[in-house]
């Protein structure tokens, strides 16, 4: 999982504040850059412009209330098209959404409860063919996410069976494969902020007061590899399955947008590799980091392939760079294959780790440009 660091949050706030000062004093319909100002307080949600043109729209959401706010774009059937969470009091964020023509409801939720004041808007006109392709990419990705989650749940079930039988050898064998589906779609799973810490928290990332509630894969990993026994840990197996089922039950309400969730998610997957896997921090006891590594890369590649027709058209050089660098990372991973999986990461020497890190940087850099290309 990705620990929500204080640094990241303050960083976001600092950026927002500078945007605020740079663009203060609007009041017009849309600001000079074409963004639509939205002013949220704890009990109001004012949208400066309610008739919009179809296509890419930037909402400049200012939270002037006292609680952390969340901004949602709801389709006419009530489902979420896109949402932006964690808008701190006194901050302003730019939130880009690709809006097809139709009726929408914009909702500001102080306290991030999913409820709050809202404003109806009408989006009309233009339907670029690119939108249709992106819409299809998003639908296909959603289907992919469901398949991966089902896979992880099925494999976790057999893993948990072995845990409950205290069959340590078998459980060790099934541990890494049970995580593959999860790691492939990790950024989507992380959208549900409450599930990720329950199933994928690393002990080293917990605050002292959180340790007593620690659960999930890595707790079982530590028991299997460090303690050599999972006796008494049966309940954690059950809880892991239950948490994954909760995640599954939420998928029907999930919409994924191509820019933030897909392209942004692909970038996050590579960030996961760069900060957690290449360093060997993710699987501190089992050293199965390369299995997660591959799953993260596969997840990013799936997203890229779905978006590729659009990327190819808008930035052919970027598409070429991504093709090259996915191939390089995959070739490099192949060197470390062993049986159905990979060699233990503690057996991967410094030179090989440097090589992997270089390849991850080489892929991560162009991948960070994917969102910009898709949003063009």
């Amino acid at each position: 999982m990705r620990p929500v660091s204080v640094l990241a949050l303050t960083g976001a706030a600092a950026v927002s504040l500078s945007l605020l000062s740079a663009c203060g004093g609007d009041g017009g319909k849309a600001d000079a850059a074409g963004a639509v100002p939205v002013t949220a307080t704890d009990d109001t949600c004012e949208v400066a412009k309610t008739d919009l043109s179809a296509g890419k729209t930037t909402f400049k959401v200012a939270n002037k209330g006292s609680k952390v706010n969340e901004f949602e774009v709801l389709k006419s059937d009530g489902k979420i098209l896109a949402e932006r969470e964690n808008i701190g009091p006194g901050t302003t964020v730019d939130f880009v959404v690709n809006l097809p023509a139709g009726q929408y409801r914009l909702l500001c939720s102080a306290g991030q409860t999913g409820k709050g004041p809202s404003q109806n808007i009408t989006v009309s006109g233009g339907s670029a063919s690119g939108d249709a392709r992106l819409g299809k990419a998003a639908a296909d990705y959603r289907a992919f996410v469901i398949v991966q989650l089902d896979d992880t749940i099925a494999k976790t079930r057999t893993f948990v069976d072995a845990v409950k039988a205290n069959d340590v050898e078998k459980a060790k064998e099934l541990y890494a494969p049970s995580r593959v589906g999860w790691e492939t779609i990790e950024p989507v799973a992380e959208k549900f902020g409450d599930i990720d810490p329950k199933v994928d928290a690393r002990e080293a990332d917990l605050k002292p007061e959180e340790k007593k509630d620690w659960s999930g894969w890595h707790l079982l990993e530590k028991a299997l590899w460090k303690d050599g026994s999972v006796k008494g840990k049966e309940k954690y197996g059950d809880r892991l399955l239950k948490d994954l089922d909760v995640l599954k039950s939420r998928l029907p309400g999930l919409t994924l947008d191509p820019v933030n969730d897909m392209a942004g998610g692909a970038k996050e997957l590579l960030d996961e590799v760069a900060t957690g896997k290449v360093t060997g921090e993710e699987e501190a006891f089992s050293h199965t980091d390369l299995v997660d590594f591959k799953a993260n890369v596969d997840g990013a590649k799936k997203i890229y392939e779905l978006l590729k027709p659009v990327v190819q058209e808008r930035d052919a050089q970027l598409a070429g760079d991504l093709d090259d660098n996915f191939a390089k990372v995959e070739a490099l991973l192949k060197k470390h294959e062993k049986g159905d999986g990979y060699v233990s990461y503690d057996k991967v020497g410094e030179g090989d780790r440097k090589e992997l890190a270089d390849a991850v940087n080489a892929l991560g850099e162009p991948l960070s440009k994917l969102a910009g290309a898709v949003a063009k």
């Binding site: 880009v96 820019v259 270089d358 080489a362």
Partner: protein, 410 residues
């Protein structure tokens, strides 16, 4: 930016405290401003990027260094050239004090900014970026990687093993080197960081070195800075405006062999670890004997002033100045541009400090190599160890519309 806090200003201040009692009398609140008034070379200004020679060689030495060596990770020559073009555009912008690409802010909000932003609001700080190509770019493990083997200059030799060398391969070599010098360390680091970022997928950083204080000057009337042994070394350096000496000793000529290098220069970098603790236990007399200069003034043995002409015969046969002096090396000179470094401490509690030696010359075979051979008996060797090394062919300067290395890749 607070110029008065820069190393240069402080060194200046110390430098003339002996010469000018007036400066001492101004002690207190005004001291820094006195130092600044003495003037450095308009520290915030920009150094021209384009020209016949690359900047950062004859340019008056800036206060700070970030040196980075890269390995090329692609086998695709076209891709390498594309990166060199992108680097050139970024270098031209950054040396002028402008951000890379669309800047650090103002680009699309869903995309990461082109520029990393930490130099926003800082003046150009005399940033220079100087590129060089290592022997392995032309040929590595017998492989002609980019069709350049035949263009490798004879002067770009692999440096021989020198007695006492203890080179760490992880701190040596590299296919491409970039020397970033600036009067503000953040400006130098920003430049290397952004080039590394642009380079991902084409090159990977092999090693890099920060230098915090210049140890030589190419400005003849300026104070020679001290190295971490506390001595002024490199007094007799080639001046930035000494065109005749630059042409004779620094710039590669048209008839030197590799035509594409005409107007370029060869860079030798050596990471020289100093055994600081044992040096500090050495008596003043021995320290001065080892260098062949007085510690306070920097005067050669038997002379009064730093710039008095050294009489080598008066010095001990193994003294550093005597062995390194052009008179002991067939009149050969090199342009030194080294920096002191301290990378914290090692596992034994000793300062990991020393001199990151950088020298430019017309041909290492008549420059650094024979001089370094002369230093085989240097008394200083007891207190130093060469732990990193690199040699690079720095092409001539970039013309408007050109790119780094265009004479090589054309």
């Amino acid at each position: 930016m607070t110029r008065t806090r820069s190393g240069m200003s402080r060194r200046r201040m110390l430098g003339f405290s002996g010469a000018s009692l007036l400066a001492g009398a101004a002690a207190g609140a005004g001291l820094d401003r006195v130092a600044l008034a003495e003037g450095d070379e308009d520290a915030g200004a920009a150094v021209a990027f384009h020209g016949a020679h690359q900047a950062g060689i004859a340019t008056p030495v800036q206060d700070r260094l970030h040196f980075a060596a890269f390995d090329v990770t692609t086998g695709d020559r076209g891709r390498l050239v594309r990166m060199l073009r992108e680097w050139t555009a970024a270098a031209a912008a950054m040396t002028a004090g402008r951000p890379v690409g669309d800047g650090a802010v103002g680009g699309p909000p869903v995309a990461p900014p082109d520029d990393t932003g930490e130099a926003l609001g800082l003046p150009p700080s005399r940033l220079t970026l100087t590129i060089g190509f290592g022997p392995t770019l032309f040929e590595k493990d017998g492989e002609d990687r980019f069709g350049l083997r035949a263009r490798r200059p004879a002067a770009l030799v692999d440096l021989p093993h020198f007695p006492g060398d203890n080179l760490d391969p992880a701190r040596s070599g590299g296919d491409i080197a970039v020397q970033a010098c600036a009067d503000d360390p953040q400006v130098a680091v920003h430049a290397v960081r952004n080039l590394a970022r642009i380079g991902f997928g084409t090159v990977a950083v092999r090693w890099s070195q920060l230098g915090f204080g210049k140890t030589s000057s190419t400005t003849p009337d300026a104070q020679t800075p001290r190295n971490l042994f506390g001595f002024k070394d490199g007094t007799h350096n080639i001046g930035f405006d000494d065109t005749a000496s630059l042409d004779q000793h620094v710039w590669a000529g048209k008839g030197d062999g590799a035509g594409w290098m005409a107007g370029g220069s060869y860079l030798v970098a050596r990471r020289i670890r100093m055994h600081i603790e044992t040096w500090d236990r050495t008596s003043l007399r021995e320290q001065e004997d080892i260098f062949g200069r007085s510690k306070g003034e920097g005067a050669p043995v038997g002379e009064r002033k730093e710039r008095d002409r050294p009489v080598l015969a008066r010095m001990k046969p193994d003294s550093h100045v005597r062995l390194a002096h052009p008179d002991s090396n067939h009149g050969m000179r090199i342009l030194r541009r080294g920096y002191s470094f301290t990378d914290g401490t090692d596992g034994l509690g000793r300062l990991d400090a020393g001199l990151f030696f950088v020298a430019f010359q017309r041909d290492p075979r008549t420059g650094f190599i024979p001089i370094q051979k002369s230093l085989a008996t240097d008394a200083l060797n007891e207190y130093i160890q060469h732990v990193g090394s690199g040699v690079y062919a720095c092409p001539p300067g970039v013309r408007e519309g050109g790119y780094w290395g265009d004479t090589l890749f054309a």
